[in-house]
Every structure is written in structure tokens, then in C-alpha cells.
């Protein structure tokens, strides 16, 4: 039974449904109705029995309505998972990347106090450069290094409606870089965030506070304004000799934002406007090469970032079977990274049209135009040439969901045609089939191609670094290495084969399983630079000159399983298991151990998560979350087990007081590098009025 349907704004086909803490209501609801089980409650807003209200009381109830036919999770031929607002609240997560640990198949590892490696079905790579991340339809994937600057992605977590995670290629709809997955963060409609909301959090690792006010204007526009501030400490570094892991600390970040939503008569037109500005700074240590022993010097500096965005969206419904969405946004950030700085401006215009004019077909097509202008500040060891550039991306996509057998067999064919300034046209097709085997069982399979476009650094960057050739660092000077970008690169490509199975019992149990095989080609790696661009007195160039090349292939396969069981109306248990195996092809250049070492990075082979959410009476909640993450063989990081416990007390259903302990089993553990995440605890108050 699907109680809460979800739709990605503007990406009409993907939506999902999950059991929910309002499950009791759902259960009651289920008992009241007999099959077919196609009911949707639409909203999580209230568990109110409206028949118990009088007519006059009913006249005072404000109504909310949705126009799109939501698809049930069991109807989507892809590996989809939704983290709900309530999941986030009960997890105790205090940042977006931490909240992503809730989703099965997502590998989240904290690299430093301000950096996270977030991967889905990752190949052996340091950064998750094949994962697209969207916030309310705005891409936060940076073209600088193909990834996400997680330290500048934040919002009032209580105002996130849900996070949708699509594992596997989503390129046919989302376009380039949606190779291994898409994460779509959707904030709440302003209509749902009326009144004051206030939160304060303090603990041994962090302190945070947020305030939000929302209301409805006399002319019927809903809006909210919010402010958030946090301060976080550094991670524990037990070995100060490790030079490549600068400890980052004293991280402070503040942001201000708003969102306004307005609906026209009978919801034919819906307009949304949102904007945000933020600023963030943290202490950073950068090790730079110096010409004499000990060859490196640690420089302390303050890494700063600021930015903001403005997004508008207009949805128009011509009829039940035809609707369009037009979205425009501007995004800017000015951010220090690795001792350098980048300023980027992005303008994006997106149009989509969904129509069901032909019987048995649901058609979605759309077009997107994006312009990115950037400016890099040259530093001795990171340069981008030219340091100013403007890039256009334009694309067209078309998708048709064809009903082969009513209610039973659906075929979805789609393709995205996208042009970028580095590799030209890229075609990303996909074919998906969904078969509802029986009332509660469904099977799906998909074959799709996706690409990742080279980043700005891979295209035009020059990075100078060094390695110590022997264990004994005193013995020899470090070997300088220069890595140069190449403008002749192709896009990395993936051909993905996926099959999935889902089972949903009528009442309280949900299970999904996916198996996949990803075949990568044209992966970027280093090779010897036969034609290094050296100046006369260039000492770095005398070392090991490398250049990016599409010289590697690779494959990965795995299984993802997730189960959700509402054991009793007051007790819910969720479990997830992920198995991942990766291999990169033999590559002549990798015979050089230095090159191999530079590219290393790995993902946990096994991951397991078990979460229990218990309601104790009306006022108390106890959440226990247990996670096992396998060792990272290539990076010498041990396996770890973490235990998080949250105890919350609801005061008069208008306020919540919670106490959270995280990573309780050990004093500290490493997740990605030598930096260790410590045991932590915090206390939080949240109130609405």
C-alpha cells in the first residue's frame, strides 16, 4: 500500500511512495477500503478525520490540492529511494550529506570536516564525479572538478520535503553527468511552512540555529523566509605527519533565503520563486612544496566561500493530460578550493512539456539551455588556462512511456541529445520496461547509456604536486608531478544494465532489490605527457609530467537491497544492504606505481544499515541506527560500525526536544582518509508557533 506519493517537480515521471509514520492512518485507511489498491492520501499534512469536524469547522479548513497524477514507487522502472522529511528528522542528521546515509546504495564518507565523498555505485575514484545533484531543480554539480562542493550545500533541514535518490543512469531525463545516479533535494512548498519555526542545536562537535517564518499574503501568495547559522569543529587528526590531509576546522556558515509560491484558479498556473545567499569560512592548512628539507611547508589560511541563487518556476496546466513547466535560475558562487579560488556564474533556462494526448502514451519532452561563466584565480600550484571562460550547454530530451498491456506492462523509451563545448554532441538513450507480475509484485529492467563531460580542470587545468618516492622522507627530495588538462578529451561513457524487483505487502512491508552491471569506457586517467609545456626554469616539469587521457575502461556490478517493515503502528524497522564490486581495466600507464597510487581510491564492498524508529506513547520517540561499512582496501581505511541513538520528547506537539548521540561505539573512526570522525552528541530544540 502506498500512502504518500511523491513527484519530482518538473520531472514528472519519477516519483515514489513509502510507508510512513502516519502509517497508522494508512493502515486504518487500508482496512476501510477494499482492492484495487490505488489509493493515495496525497499529503502527509494531517491525520485528521475530517468527518469528525462540523460543517462550519470544515469551512475553515484551508484546502491544498495537487494536479499531477503521481506515480507510485512500484511503477517506476528504476532504482529509486526517497528519504522523507520525517526520516531526516528521526535520523539526527545535521547536514545534507549526512542525511544521504539514510539511502541504501549511497556511499557517504567524511573526508575532512568540510568535505564528504558521496558516491553511488562508485568506481575507484576519489570524488563522486558521476553523480548529479539537484536542489529544487537547480544543479549544484560543479563544472570545476565534476562533483559537488558539499560544504556550501545546506538549508533548513526541517524544510526539506524529501530527497529522491535514483541509483543508476538518469541521463535520458537529467542529461550529462547523471551517470551513476541522481540526487534530487526538494524543499517544502511555502504553503506547508507557515508560522514560525525555530531550531537550536548544540553539542560537542557543532552548534547550529535556524529560524523560519512563513505566511500567506492578502493576495494569496505563500512565502517563507529563513536564516540558518552553524559552526562545526575539525576532525581528529592523529598523525600530523600526513601531508595531504589538511585538517579543517572552525567552520562557520550562515545563510538567508526565501521561497514564495502562488497558485492560480483551479491550480492551472503555479508560480514559485526562491532565492538564497550564503557565506561560509573555515580554517585550512595547505601543504606547499618548498625547495629544501623538509620539502613541504604547512600554510594556514582561511578558506572562504559565498554565493547565492535565484530560481523561478512556472507550471501551467492546459488540461489533465497536458502540462508544461518553465524554469529559470541564476546561481553564483565564489569559493576558495585547494588554495585557489573560483568564481562561477550559471544561467539556466529549462522547459518541459508532459502530454498524454495519445492513448497508451505518456510523452515528456523538454529542452535546456545553460551558460556558465567562470574565473579562476591563478596560484602557483593550480592554474587553469585560460582562467576565464564561458561555456554553453544545450539539450533536448524526449521520453515516451508506452502502455503495452493495461496496468501490467510498460515500456519507457527516452533519449537526451546534449551539446557541450568540450566534447560536442552527446547522445544518451535509455530503454526501460516495467512488468507488474502480480498485484503486489513488480519487475523492471533497464538498459541505458550515460556520459560524464570532462571538468574544467580536466580540460584546461595545470596542477603541480609532488610525491615522496620512498617511505623514508628524509632521504630524498620529493618528486614533482605536473598534471595537465587536455582539450582533446572525450566524455566518459557508461552502458548500464539493471534489473529490479519490488514487493509491497498490503499493510506493512516493503522490499526492493536491484542488481546491475555497469560497463565504463573512455574513463579519464593519467598518462605520461610526451609533450610537456615547460618554461625555462620550470623545476616541476623536470619531474613527472602527466596529462589526462581517456585511456581506461572499467566495470562494476552490485546488488542493492532494502526493506521497510512497520512491525507495529508504533515501531518501524528499515534495513539496507549494498554490495559493490569494481574493477578497472588493464592500462599500460598504470604499470607505473606512481600513477596507480595517484588514482587510488575505493568504495566499501559491503554496507549494511539497520534503523529502528520507535514511538513510546504519544510524546516520546527513540531511534536507533546501526551501520556497518566495509574497509576501503586501496586507501587503508578500516571497516567501521557506527551506532546513532536519538531520544526525542514532543512537548504539546508544538515543540520537540531531542538528544542525539552519534558514532557511539568507538571514540573515533576513519571513513576516507587519516582524519577521524569522533563520537559526538548534541541536544536540539525545535518549535513551531
Amino acid at each position: 500500500m502506498n500512502c504518500v506519493p511523491y513527484t519530482v517537480p518538473g520531472r514528472g515521471i519519477i516519483s515514489a511512495v513509502f510507508p510512513h509514520p502516519f502509517f497508522l492512518l494508512c493502515l486504518l485507511y487500508l482496512l476501510l477500503i477494499s482492492p484495487p489498491l490505488s489509493a493515495s492520501l496525497w499529503e502527509e499534512d494531517s491525520g485528521i478525520d475530517f468527518t469528525a469536524l462540523s460543517l462550519e469547522e470544515l469551512k475553515n479548513v484551508k484546502i491544498t490540492s495537487a494536479s499531477k497524477t503521481p506515480e507510485k514507487l512500484s511503477d517506476i522502472p528504476a532504482a529509486v529511494f526517497v528519504v522523507t522529511r520525517d526520516d531526516i528528522r528521526r535520523s539526527g542528521a545535521t547536514s545534507i550529506p549526512e542525511a544521504l546515509r539514510l539511502a541504501p546504495g549511497v556511499q557517504v564518507a567524511r573526508i575532512s570536516a568540510t568535505e564528504w565523498a558521496v558516491n553511488i555505485r562508485g568506481l575507484n575514484e576519489l570524488f563522486s564525479n558521476k553523480l548529479l545533484v539537484l536542489v529544487d531543480g537547480r544543479s549544484v554539480y560543479t563544472h570545476v572538478y565534476s562533483g559537488v562542493f558539499w560544504d556550501i550545500q545546506d538549508t533548513v533541514l526541517e524544510d526539506i520535503e524529501r530527497i529522491e535518490i535514483i541509483r543508476g543512469p538518469g541521463a535520458a531525463l537529467w542529461g550529462a553527468n547523471a551517470v551513476n545516479g541522481v540526487i534530487s533535494i526538494i524543499t517544502r512548498h511555502a504553503q506547508k511552512t507557515r508560522g514560525f519555526q525555530f531550531s537550536a542545536l548544540g553539542g560537542n562537535e557543532e552548534g547550529a540555529g535556524s529560524i523560519r517564518y512563513g505566511d500567506r499574503t492578502a493576495r494569496g501568495t505563500y512565502y517563507r523566509i529563513y536564516a540558518k547559522y552553524f559552526s562545526r569543529g575539525s576532525l581528529l587528526e592523529n598523525d600530523r605527519d600526513i601531508r595531504n590531509d589538511p585538517s579543517k576546522g572552525d567552520w562557520r556558515s550562515g545563510r538567508l533565503g526565501f521561497r514564495a509560491d502562488r497558485s492560480g484558479e483551479r491550480n492551472r498556473n503555479r508560480v514559485s520563486l526562491q532565492g538564497e545567499i550564503y557565506s561560509s569560512r573555515f580554517q585550512n592548512e595547505i601543504s606547499r612544496t618548498v625547495p629544501e628539507f623538509p620539502w613541504t611547508a604547512l600554510e594556514k589560511e582561511v578558506s572562504r566561500a559565498w554565493g547565492g541563487h535565484l530560481l523561478s518556476r512556472w507550471e501551467h496546466r492546459f488540461s489533465e493530460t497536458s502540462e508544461t513547466a518553465l524554469q529559470f535560475y541564476y546561481d553564483h558562487y565564489d569559493k576558495d578550493f585547494d588554495g585557489s579560488n573560483v568564481q562561477a556564474h550559471t544561467l539556466d533556462l529549462d522547459f518541459q512539456h508532459r502530454l498524454e494526448s495519445f492513448a497508451g502514451h505518456e510523452l515528456i519532452w523538454g529542452t535546456d539551455l545553460r551558460y556558465i561563466r567562470d574565473h579562476f584565480q591563478d596560484r602557483p600550484d593550480i592554474r587553469v588556462e585560460p582562467n576565464r571562460d564561458g561555456q554553453y550547454f544545450y539539450s533536448l530530451f524526449l521520453q515516451d512511456k508506452i502502455r503495452l498491456l493495461p496496468q501490467e506492462l510498460f515500456l519507457t523509451l527516452g533519449a537526451k541529445f546534449e551539446h557541450n563545448s568540450y566534447t560536442g554532441w552527446e547522445i544518451q538513450p535509455s530503454a526501460r520496461i516495467l512488468w507488474s507480475v502480480a498485484a503486489r509484485h513488480s519487475l523492471w529492467a533497464a538498459l541505458s547509456r550515460a556520459v560524464r563531460v570532462p571538468s574544467r580542470v580536466e580540460n584546461a587545468g595545470v596542477l603541480d604536486t609532488y610525491v615522496f618516492p620512498s617511505e623514508n622522507r628524509d632521504a630524498a627530495a620529493p618528486l614533482p608531478i605536473r598534471i595537465r588538462g587536455s582539450s582533446g578529451l572525450d566524455a566518459e561513457s557508461l552502458l548500464a544494465w539493471e534489473i529490479g524487483y519490488r514487493f509491497q505487502s498490503a499493510e506493512n512491508f516493503w522490499f526492493a532489490m536491484t542488481a546491475y552491471y555497469h560497463d565504463y569506457d573512455h574513463l579519464l586517467d593519467y598518462r605520461y605527457d610526451e609533450n610537456p609545456l615547460c618554461t625555462e626554469d620550470d623545476t616541476v616539469c623536470a619531474g613527472l609530467p602527466l596529462i589526462y587521457a581517456n585511456n581506461t575502461g572499467g566495470e562494476s556490478y552490485g546488488i542493492e537491497m532494502t526493506a521497510d517493515w512497520q512491525v507495529f503502528p508504533f515501531w518501524r524497522v528499515q534495513a539496507a544492504y549494498t554490495f559493490l564490486e569494481t574493477a578497472t581495466e588493464y592500462n599500460r600507464d598504470r604499470e607505473d606505481p606512481l600513477i596507480a597510487a595517484l588514482r587510488q581510491g575505493s568504495n566499501p564492498r559491503n554496507q549494511f544499515s539497520l534503523r529502528s524508529s520507535l514511538d513510546m506513547g504519544r510524546d516520546w520517540e527513540l531511534d536507533i541506527w546501526f551501520r556497518y561499512v566495509d574497509r576501503l582496501s586501496d586507501s587503508d581505511v578500516d571497516e567501521y560500525i557506527s551506532l546513532d541513538i536519538r531520544l526525542a520528547w514532543q512537548i504539546a506537539s508544538r515543540a520537540e526536544l531531542s538528544l542525539v548521540g552519534q558514532n557511539l561505539l568507538e571514540p573515533d573512526h576513519a571513513e576516507f582518509s587519516s582524519l577521524k570522525v569522533e563520537r559526538s552528541y548534541y541536544c536540539k530544540v525545535l518549535c513551531y508557533f
Partner: protein
């Protein structure tokens, strides 16, 4: 060894907590109720329950004293499924029975009929099939009242209202209690909402 850098952070966190906790007690002491909101069809289901409760059918409409009230729903998902939640609700001695996706030939058994605006566009003659029957018809459009529909929903500043066509109710031999009529916009011949 705890890193020295986090010290500043700790002090800051504590300060934040005290400050914010103070604010919390200042602000949270003054809790005001938020306006209740609900999904359109769930609220409509609430209304319809009362429409049924406050309507009296002629005695010959039912076989016995405790035979069910048949509520027919001519609407697509998800509205139909939501309205289905009225199934088995008791009104005095009668149980509500919900029938979804009403076919023309099923209409005679209905006591209550809900027609969504979208359904009416598709099948505008649905009311003519029920003429002269003791049927409480509930719709969503102005034209529904003009065609002889008895109750119709409309919205006013995102709040639901309903209008009752008294002439049509009389023709259908339905008696509505004053509790219902006092909350309604009454239509007399002229079907426009004032």
C-alpha cells in the same frame, strides 16, 4: 588528543545553545494555533459525510431501516480512492456503501452521487440519467447546478464552500436539515454564487 582548533568552536556552540535556548523559551511560551489545512478531497469527504448526515430520503428509497446508503463516486484517482474512505461509516442505523466509477446502469441504486468536474466534462449527461430519482447529487461546477445538480462545491480563498440548489432538492424529494442549509449558499432558480 583533541585538536586545539575545536576549542573556539565549543565555546561558540555553548554560547549559541544558551542564547537560542533563551530565545526558545521566550518564543515558544507563546504558542498559537496554525490554521488547519487538508487535501482537497479529504476535506470534501468530510463535507460529503455531513451532507449525507443532514439529508433525509423518502422512505421508499430504502428497502429496510438499516439498509445501506449507496454513495456513488464518478471521479478519477486519486479523488475516488479518498472518497472511498467513507465506506462503512455509520449514519444513524445505516452504513455507507461506496461504489466507484459509476456506470450509467448502476445509477438507480445510488442515494448519493459525486461527480468530479473532470468526469462531468467527459460525460455531461450523467445527471439526466438520474432525473426524478431521490438522489443527492454533488458536483463541482456551476454548470452542474444549472443542469439540476443539488449540491456543488466551490472555493473561496482556498476554503471550500458549497451551494445548495433548493429547487432541485425539492424535485428529488430530499429534505435537508437546517444545519446543512445554514452553512450553505442557497440557490433559488438563479444558480450564480452571490
Amino acid at each position: 588528543m583533541p585538536p586545539p582548533i575545536s576549542f573556539a568552536g565549543d565555546i561558540f556552540s555553548l554560547k549559541t545553545v544558551f542564547l537560542l535556548a533563551g530565545l526558545f523559551f521566550l518564543l515558544c511560551g507563546n504558542i498559537a494555533a496554525e490554521e488547519l489545512s487538508g487535501t482537497e478531497y479529504r476535506v470534501k469527504a468530510g463535507f460529503i459525510y455531513h451532507f449525507i448526515r443532514f439529508t433525509q430520503w423518502p422512505a421508499d428509497s430504502f428497502a429496510g431501516e438499516d439498509s445501506p446508503i449507496v454513495f456513488c463516486v464518478a471521479a478519477a484517482e486519486p479523488a475516488a480512492a479518498i472518497l472511498r474512505s467513507l465506506e462503512n461509516k455509520m449514519i444513524r442505523k445505516r452504513r455507507i456503501k461506496v461504489k466507484i466509477h459509476t456506470e450509467a446502469e448502476e445509477l438507480p441504486v445510488c442515494h448519493v452521487l459525486f461527480v468530479s468536474a473532470a468526469y462531468e466534462e467527459k460525460q455531461p449527461d450523467i445527471l439526466s440519467l438520474t432525473a426524478d430519482r431521490a438522489l443527492l447529487s454533488i458536483g463541482e461546477s456551476e454548470i452542474f447546478s444549472r443542469r439540476g445538480g443539488i449540491i456543488r462545491f466551490f472555493t473561496e480563498n482556498e476554503h471550500l464552500r458549497f451551494a445548495v440548489n433548493l429547487k432541485a432538492a425539492r424535485q428529488a424529494r430530499l429534505r435537508m436539515s437546517s444545519q446543512l442549509l445554514m452553512s450553505a449558499h442557497l440557490l433559488n432558480g438563479d444558480n450564480r454564487i452571490p
